[in-house]
């Protein structure tokens, strides 16, 4: 029964995002623009691009995610629909995870596909491309959880979007550091090391703790 409800939340949110294309197309375009500008700055120096390209792609993905996450609760908050979620007899943390799954399908998945494509554009080696895909596969869900918590905390504030970036970025730093560290070591001829396991461990910890925190933050924001 609860699975039906979660499924209907995911479907409803995806329908909503399909109608509000600006919420996710603009962050995706931003990611593409940031990465394509990068070779221009480095004057197409192939060695520098090969060295720093993976890190830039990771950063671009992080910034687009922060941008897009501002919408994850706002659309329903404005219309007073978030109260319907809070007042549901079903567990709020699970409902919010369903909302994040929809967000992940609409924005996380395209970013995950986009990142190796952009890497291909920068002529990164196949080993680096696969490392990029793998680290982002584990990293994006962690970043989304942290970002969503920030979005829930800044929900009632008029300048929430700006504050969100300030609140969320410090918490994202461990994920970003290990993610970039992992791809950089592959780019420098090494192998995927302990970083990917650390990323995975962080994801598990966040997955267990953050949904509950999001639920509490939302109740405070609505009260």
């Amino acid at each position: 029964m609860i699975l039906n409800v979660l499924y209907s939340v995911v479907c409803r949110d995806i329908t909503l995002y399909c109608q509000r294309r600006g919420e996710w197309v603009v962050p995706l375009l931003f990611c593409v623009m940031m990465v394509t500008l990068f070779p221009v700055i480095l004057r197409s120096d192939a060695i520098l691009i090969a060295k720093w390209g993976p890190a830039i792609i990771w950063l671009a993905v992080v910034l687009s995610l922060i941008w897009s996450l501002e919408a994850v609760f706002r659309l329903d908050y404005q219309e007073g629909i978030l109260a319907q979620f809070v007042m549901s007899p079903y567990p709020l943390p699970l409902l919010m995870v369903a909302k994040l799954v929809a967000h992940g399908i609409v924005i996380g998945l395209p970013l995950l596909i986009l990142a190796p494509l952009l890497g291909f554009l920068l002529q990164l080696s196949p080993a680096v491309l696969s490392a990029l895909g793998l680290t982002l596969l584990v990293g994006i869900p962690s970043l989304m959880l942290v970002g969503a918590l920030g979005a829930a905390l800044t929900l009632g504030l008029s300048q929430g979007g700006v504050l969100l970036a300030v609140v969320v970025f410090p918490w994202m730093i461990p994920v970003v550091l290990f993610g970039i560290q992992a791809v950089m070591s592959v780019a420098n001829g090494g192998a995927l090391g302990a970083e990917i396991l650390l990323l995975l461990a962080m994801l598990i910890v966040l997955l267990v703790t953050v949904p509950k925190a999001i639920a509490t933050a939302l109740k405070i924001s609505l009260g």
Partner: protein, 207 residues
């Protein structure tokens, strides 16, 4: 049964209401009356378990909120004064999403369609909610009263923007629900006449 024990609420150092004690049995109709800004909406939000009361507590079926909130919410229908409709989704999609969240049993799509027909929105069912007039949007929300509604209703100014026929239909629905041992708590500007076994009036005054 809903029990209010010494309920009080304060916002920005202003006491909106205090020492509200009342027992609301099944089949009771409660009319919250007051001027604009008297605190009707705040009272309803506290009664719905959405806001924490500053003093006192709320008891549903002998269990105290907020611990029993999920139990209470499974039997509660709350219609606030926010739009509660996603403007780009259709009335049908909006209601479907709401019922999925709010009701433990869920509802068949044809029941939702029937309810929308009932409130006179047959031609608007599949159009975006943003093109509806205010009265029609209110009708979409009120259609929920006809689709497998829970036991306890808390409605904030449900007659806003409704025409005469709409008001009559909703009042009629109230009486039906009260006969089936439902609880209805309604905030209005003007006192409302509804035939019920038990009727309570809560008057709020702006200070």
């Amino acid at each position: 049964m809903l029990k209010l024990e010494n309920l009080g609420y304060e916002r920005e150092n202003k006491t909106l209401f205090s020492n509200l004690t009342s027992e609301i049995p099944l089949g009771a109709f409660v009319n919250v009356v007051g001027q604009n800004g008297a605190g009707k909406t705040s009272l309803l939000k506290v009664l719905a378990g959405l806001w924490q009361p500053t003093t006192g507590s709320l008891v549903w079926d002998n269990k105290s909120l907020p611990l029993a909130a999920p139990l209470f919410w499974a039997e509660l229908l709350y219609i606030g004064h926010e739009s509660q409709l996603q403007p780009t989704l259709t009335p049908l999609q909006n209601l479907k999403g709401w019922i999925a969240l709010n009701s433990l049993e869920g509802s068949a799509i044809k029941d939702i369609e029937a309810a929308l027909v009932q409130v006179g929105l047959k031609a608007f069912m599949h159009l975006p909610a943003e093109i509806l007039s205010r009265g029609q949007r209110q009708r979409v929300l009120l259609a929920r009263l006809w689709v497998n509604p829970p036991r306890c209703w808390i409605l904030d100014e449900p007659f806003t923007a409704l025409d005469e026929a709409g008001i009559l239909a909703v009042k009629h629905r109230f009486e039906e629900h009260l006969l089936q041992d439902g609880i209805i708590i309604v905030a209005t500007h003007q006192p409302l006449q509804i035939s019920a076994e038990t009727t309570r009036h809560i008057e709020l005054h702006s200070t």
